[in-house]
């Protein structure tokens, strides 16, 4: 690195600066003041003609509002309290903030939007969508535990026996289907049972088609109504028609619709206590293609539609007349689910539906947000019409039955909760909770649960409905029993939602449900689902059971778990049982420890189950048990160690990876000797699997290796001898770096190995990869090196290795095609760890930095600047101050950088250099540097602001004399704008800088500027100014500030006065006990403020009083404090929360200053006042005093002779 190079880079940038300046004419680069403004945008706050309107005049804008409020008043109302007569319309918070926090060069990913979609169904995976397959809502269950069995449930509740029988049927159906499918796959001919009716029909068609067997055996023909009736395993009544000749005569008629649909619903076509909404029916039977696609909008088919869809008379069919006495069902809700139970409203038996909607429900065209009896809603979706349409119909309330009234009432409340504004929601929620027992569980759940199954449900709605369930569960308590299964069907899917909060919500509901319904009900309700034919149902049931276990305690559930895990009847039951055990530790963590032995005992036998799936899940559950138990509980695992280890030898594929996972979690629990032995036993298999092509297996193997390596029992020499070579051969290859997850795993495992075997050992093996041609691979290496060296230091690195390392890191740094923070961090860590050993390489590093600073791409420049701030300390250690000075000069040229991210980094680099070399040695000298920083202070980008203010603050703190007072004043004015930065750190730094500057140049000028700033409109700015005044007072002693500040109070402007009070409040807070000398000076001012009409005024005065009072505790200003208390006390009747809180705080502070007795004398008077409005605030004061100093109150209680005898206090010796 020669000086010529540095000079060249500097000159190049200087030329670029000059070129930019000349392009933009008079506006920029004023040679004399060194001020550049390289932005291509016209400045809004500056005059173009710098000749006429000279720049630098400090108070050019005095008397103007220098800013438009970026953010309005968030915390409290403004001092003037009045409201604007004209409505203010503005952009949203997000839009306003967008510019301040832009990500700089990169745009946001447009694909992200999809993730944020409100609808839950949109982001569900296929697996999660299987919840819609679970049948809409199962019938209510009989409650065998109820005092009078049929107290609150209709007679048609399913009993446990019926449910079990149904499940048996389902399983059988599944089995037969599977057999058929298998046979078909093998190409065998399947003779299918055919209803006679169909045979006739098919024969006719087949004859036309010209084929006989092939068609008959091909996939079950869809019947003309679109749903494969035969698939459901239940037959429509036509299938069962016994007399062939009669059947032959009756061609399939279109009146079949309703019954066949009923049959399509898998569970019970009778006793469906829940009248299911059309949309639900659609969702429940996805086979009904058309219906399922348009939930909630199925309005029936007209004759015309049917004519289009069906073969007509031309094809040899005949359209029959409706049978005599036929009348279509009109109630929307009953259309699809024509239940055989007598329906009072719909007198018909058939299921034909008319096209014309006779109720408003099915009209989707105009969606009002104002529902009669509900009020203005936030929104109203088309789908809501299906559920809440009834409310729109109006109707005469007086003619309705009690049940109908109730239904409407609930509907109204639910609509308010789901779609209403927050206050509406709150009251409706309270009403529905309070009246839950009156409404009854049936009426409530029959409306809530279908809503939750709606496909277009959004997060917010789900959250609210779930909240409703949660609240009413508490109230309903054991009344909920018959509905447990229905609720579970709806809530269980929440347990596998991607959203963490949804999962938590689901858990909470289920655990409340378990507490309300009791263990016996939970078990008998969920037992049938444990060996359900559908894996989805079993999975969610297992999770729900784990929640029940955590709610009711593991011991309660243990006997059941034991029985299920040993079930002889079906492997599915065993599988689910073990899965429950797997999920319990995930939910409960180390709380399983007391029951660890029993839990392990439950699943132990399944480790050698004949079903591979059961073995796998058993190993997984052992892994999760061991993970939760870590580092205790190895004795509980004693029994399964040998089956696990020997079993691992027999497994392949998925089973093996599960076994290895369990091994990996159990080894860390063992003591050293055992860990060593068992590791060596399993290592053979691990090393064999290093070469496995299976991704899942790779991940598990890596995890197990890192777990083994970090166990104390496993020695470094063992790892070096047996593992390292194979490990690097198996995992350190380019391919591994390409997959994100593998990459992470390999890095972590290598670092874990490195912790044991030492940095040198690992670095020797990976350092060559730093120069590999694959970039991800280099990145992976750098990250490993960084983590290792950060954790273990570089003492272990030999001289030769050190050279290769630096060389490699430099190569990796230079060859980046995408600038990555990982490489930067790696470079920084390596250089810092090597410290003075770097000296030889510094010129090379600096040269790299310089040429990259000169790069065209902004990210390269940014990274180079970032690197300077990381290596600055080491350069100092290597005595390279001269070189740093040169770097400083180059960086100085770059202050005109136009990308804010880069500029921020450059400022950061300058700051690092200043910090290391000190103010006096700094090159370029501070008196040149600071004037260049002043215009940058105006930059609105957060990173730039943060770095400049930091640099300026540091200069103001350490070397204020290097710049003249005028320049500091200029900086003061720029700093004012910083007081309204979004980031708290920036505001705080700006405030501190005010303190430093005031110290350097005296408070007068700074104070004048700050006081002027109290007049601006914006609240945050005023608040920060007040804080800054407080800081100035603290650094320069209060007497320099108070007179001017109090004088400012005479300005007849509420905002200013309020600002002064606020400043006083901060001031007294900061100066603490120093304040005792100024109490009498400010008392008249506070006196005036405390009797002001404006309540914000009094509020701020109260907070000033509080800080004054707290500062003078025990310093003898009681008279002034009592005086202030007299003025303060009437304010206890304020109702605005901010005001009353400040007032109470002030009274408390005065109580501290003057003693409890005196203040309590004010309180006694009101404690038993006839008016409650008076009593309440007095009791608040009393309670506060009591909590804070009950003991101090004892001597001061009023004497109440006759009522309270406390003669002891008058004893005098």
């Amino acid at each position: 690195m020669s000086d010529a190079d540095i000079e060249a880079v500097r000159r190049l940038q200087a030329e670029r600066n000059a070129a930019a300046a000349s392009q933009q004419g008079s506006k920029t680069f004023d040679k004399s003041s060194q001020r550049t403004d390289n932005s291509t945008k016209a400045s809004l706050t500056e005059s173009f003609d710098t000749f006429l309107y000279e720049r630098g005049g400090a108070d050019k804008f005095s008397g103007y509002d220098t800013s438009i409020a970026v953010d309005g008043d968030e915390e409290m109302e403004d001092a003037d309290g009045g409201h604007n007569l004209v409505g203010q319309y503005t952009a949203t918070r997000n839009q306003i903030d967008e510019m301040a926090r832009g990500t700089g060069v990169e745009e946001e990913d447009i694909l992200l939007g999809r993730e944020k979609s409100g609808r839950i169904a949109d982001r569900e995976t296929d697996y999660q969508k299987r919840r819609f397959n679970r049948g809409a809502l199962t019938p209510t269950r009989a409650d065998p535990f109820a005092a009078n069995a049929h107290a609150n449930v209709e007679g048609e509740s399913q009993t446990y026996r019926e449910v079990m029988a149904l499940r048996e049927l389902d399983r059988e159906e599944e089995r037969v289907k599977k057999l058929i499918a298998e046979k078909r796959e093998k190409g065998e001919d399947v003779t299918e049972h055919q209803a006679t009716l169909k045979t006739v029909e098919q024969d006719k068609e087949n004859a036309e088609a010209g084929s006989t067997v092939a068609v008959a055996t091909e996939k079950k023909r869809k019947n003309r109504w679109g749903e494969p009736a035969a698939e459901t395993g239940k037959r429509s009544r036509f299938d069962m028609a016994p007399a062939p000749e009669e059947a032959a005569k009756s061609a399939p008629s279109r009146w079949d619709l309703a019954p066949s649909l009923t049959a399509a619903t898998p569970v019970g076509n009778q006793g469906l206590a829940t009248p299911i909404h059309p949309s639900q029916a659609g969702a429940a039977t996805p086979a009904v293609g058309l219906v399922a696609d348009v939930p909630g909008q199925f309005a029936g088919w007209s004759d015309e539609d049917l004519d289009i869809m069906l073969p007509g008379e031309a094809d040899g069919y005949k359209v029959l007349d409706p049978p005599p006495g036929y009348e279509p069902i009109r109630t929307q809700a009953r259309r699809l689910m024509a239940t055989p139970a007598p329906i009072p409203s719909a007198g018909g038996v058939g299921g034909f539906m008319m096209q014309e909607p006779e109720s408003v429900q099915s009209v989707g065209k105009d969606l009002p947000t104002d529902i009669p009896g509900v009020g203005e809603l936030q929104f109203f979706k088309a789908e809501d019409m299906a559920y809440f349409g009834k409310l729109m119909e109006g109707g005469d309330e007086t003619s309705m039955s009690v049940e109908e009234m109730k239904e409407r009432k609930i509907m109204r409340l639910l609509l308010k909760i789901k779609n209403g504004t927050p206050p509406m929601r709150k009251t409706a929620l309270r009403q529905i909770t309070d009246n839950a027992r009156d409404f009854g569980p049936g009426a409530l759940f029959n409306q809530i649960l279908p809503l939750l199954m709606e496909r277009t449900l959004e997060d917010q709605e789900r959250h609210l409905l779930v909240k409703v369930i949660d609240r009413i569960l508490y109230k309903l308590d054991d009344l909920v029993r018959p509905y447990v299964h229905k609720i579970l069907v709806v809530i269980e899917p929440l347990l596998i939602d991607q959203d963490y909060y949804a999962r938590v919500e689901g858990r909470e509901i289920i655990s409340n449900l378990a507490k309300a319904a009791g263990l016996a009900t939970m078990i008998s309700t969920m037992r049938p689902d444990i060996d359900h034919a559908d894996e989805y149902v079993r999975n969610t049931t297992a999770r729900a059971f784990a929640v029940v276990a955590s709610a009711l305690g593991i011991p309660a559930l243990l006997p059941f778990l034991r029985a299920v895990c040993r079930s002889k009847k079906s492997w599915q039951a065993r599988h689910t049982g073990v899965k429950i055990v797997q999920h319990i530790p995930i939910l409960m963590g180390c709380a399983i420890l007391p029951h660890l032995k029993e839990l392990v005992g439950c699943v132990a036998a399944n480790l050698s189950d004949e079903q591979a799936k059961v073995r796998t899940v058993t190993a997984l559950s052992l892994a999760s048990l061991a993970e939760a138990a870590n580092p205790y509980g190895i004795e509980s695992f004693d029994d399964i160690l040998s089956p696990l280890w020997t079993g691992a030898r027999k497994q392949r594929g998925k089973g093996l990876s599960a076994f290895l996972k369990a091994v990996g979690y159990i080894i860390p629990l063992m003591d050293e000797e055992y860990a060593n032995y068992y590791t060596s036993q399993i290592m053979e298999i691990l090393i064999r699997e290093f070469a496995s092509p299976d991704e899942e297996m790779k991940k598990v193997v890596l995890k197990v290796v890192s777990q083994c390596a970090s166990t104390p029992g496993v020695t470094a020499s063992y790892l070096k001898e047996h593992v390292l070579t194979e490990f690097f051969k198996g995992f350190w290859m380019r391919r591994m770096a390409l997959d994100r997850r593998n990459y992470r795993q390999v890095v972590d495992t290598t670092v874990d190995l490195g912790q044991k075997v030492g940095v040198g050992e690992i670095l020797e093996r990976v350092v060559n990869n730093l120069k590999d041609e694959s970039e991800p691979y280099r990145k992976m290496t750098v990250e490993t090196v960084e983590k290792l060296i950060a954790a273990l230091g570089a003492a272990d690195v030999s001289e030769r290795l050190e050279e290769r390392l630096i060389d490699g890191v430099l190569f990796a740094f230079q060859e980046q095609s995408i600038e990555d923070v990982i490489i930067l961090n790696g470079f920084g860590t390596v250089v810092n760890a090597l410290g003075t050993r770097c000296k030889a390489y510094i010129p090379q590093i600096v040269s790299t930095i310089l040429w990259r600073l000169n790069n065209k791409s902004p990210t390269v420049r940014q990274q180079a600047a970032d690197l300077i701030s990381r290596v600055a300390l080491v350069m100092k250690q290597c005595d390279e101050e001269a070189l740093m000075g040169k770097l400083g000069i180059v960086l100085y040229e770059y202050l005109g950088e136009e990308y804010p991210e880069v500029l921020g980094s450059i400022l950061g680099a300058l700051r690092a250099i200043v910090t290391v070399v000190g103010i006096t040695q700094m090159q370029p000298p501070i008196r040149d540097l600071l004037p260049r920083l002043t215009p940058i202070l105006r930059n609105r980008h957060e990173k730039v602001q943060e770095n400049t203010i930091d640099l300026v603050g540091r200069i103001a703190d350490r070397g204020p004399e290097s710049v003249n007072a005028r320049e500091w004043m200029r900086i003061c004015f720029e700093l004012m704008d910083m007081l309204k930065a979004h980031k708290k750190g920036i505001r705080r730094a700006a405030n501190n800088t005010f303190g430093f500057i005031a110290k350097a140049i005296g408070p007068q000028d700074v104070l004048a500027a700050l006081l002027g700033n109290l007049r601006v409109q914006e609240r945050q700015s005023r608040v920060c100014t007040a804080v800054a005044i407080g800081i100035v007072a603290e650094t320069c002693a209060p007497f320099t500030v108070l007179p001017a500040l109090m004088n400012e109070y005479r300005v007849p402007d509420l905002n200013v006065q309020n600002g002064v009070l606020k400043a006083l409040s901060f001031l007294f807070e900061y100066i603490g006990e120093m304040g005792k000398d100024y109490v009498y000076a400010v008392t008249p001012l506070l006196e005036d403020a405390l009797v002001d009409r404006d309540q914000v005024h009094r509020q701020t005065a109260a907070s000033a009083v509080k800080h004054v009072a707290l500062g003078v505790i025990g310093l003898g200003c009681e008279d002034a404090m009592v005086h202030l208390l007299n003025l303060l006390f009437p304010n206890i009747f304020e109702t605005s929360p901010h005001v009353i809180d400040r007032v109470i705080e002030a009274i408390e502070a005065i109580r501290m200053a003057v003693g409890t007795g005196i203040v309590m004398n004010y309180v006694w008077a009101g404690l038993f006042h006839p008016a409650r409005k008076v009593r309440t605030p007095y009791w608040r004061l009393y309670n506060d005093a009591y909590v804070q100093g009950a003991d101090a109150m004892i001597p001061y209680y009023p004497g109440m002779e006759g009522d309270v005898d406390r003669p002891e206090l008058s004893i005098i010796v």
Partner: protein, 84 residues
């Protein structure tokens, strides 16, 4: 409405922790008996004060202490009859 609820909840929490705190509906009897109990527990809890009182009364300290503890039971008399 919601604020009111919150205030009530806060007050309940406060009262659960500090029995001596009160509210607008605290009766005179409740208040006075709390005062008495607080006073006596305070005397007993400050040994120098207790000694002083014992000397003044001419009783042994322990006896004084027991006396005070006993006074804490229904010190303000029997609770007033509640009329339904």
């Amino acid at each position: 409405m919601a604020d009111k609820l919150r205030t009530i909840q806060n007050l309940e929490a406060l009262q659960a922790r500090y029995i001596g705190t009160g509210h607008a509906d605290t009766t005179k009897y409740e208040w006075t008996s709390n005062i008495l109990r607080d006073s006596y527990s305070s005397y007993v809890g400050h040994p120098p004060l207790l000694s002083y009182m014992a000397v003044g009364m001419g009783e042994p300290k322990e006896k004084m202490r027991t006396m005070m503890l006993e006074k804490m039971v229904r010190g303000a008399g029997n609770p007033p009859e509640t009329q339904e």
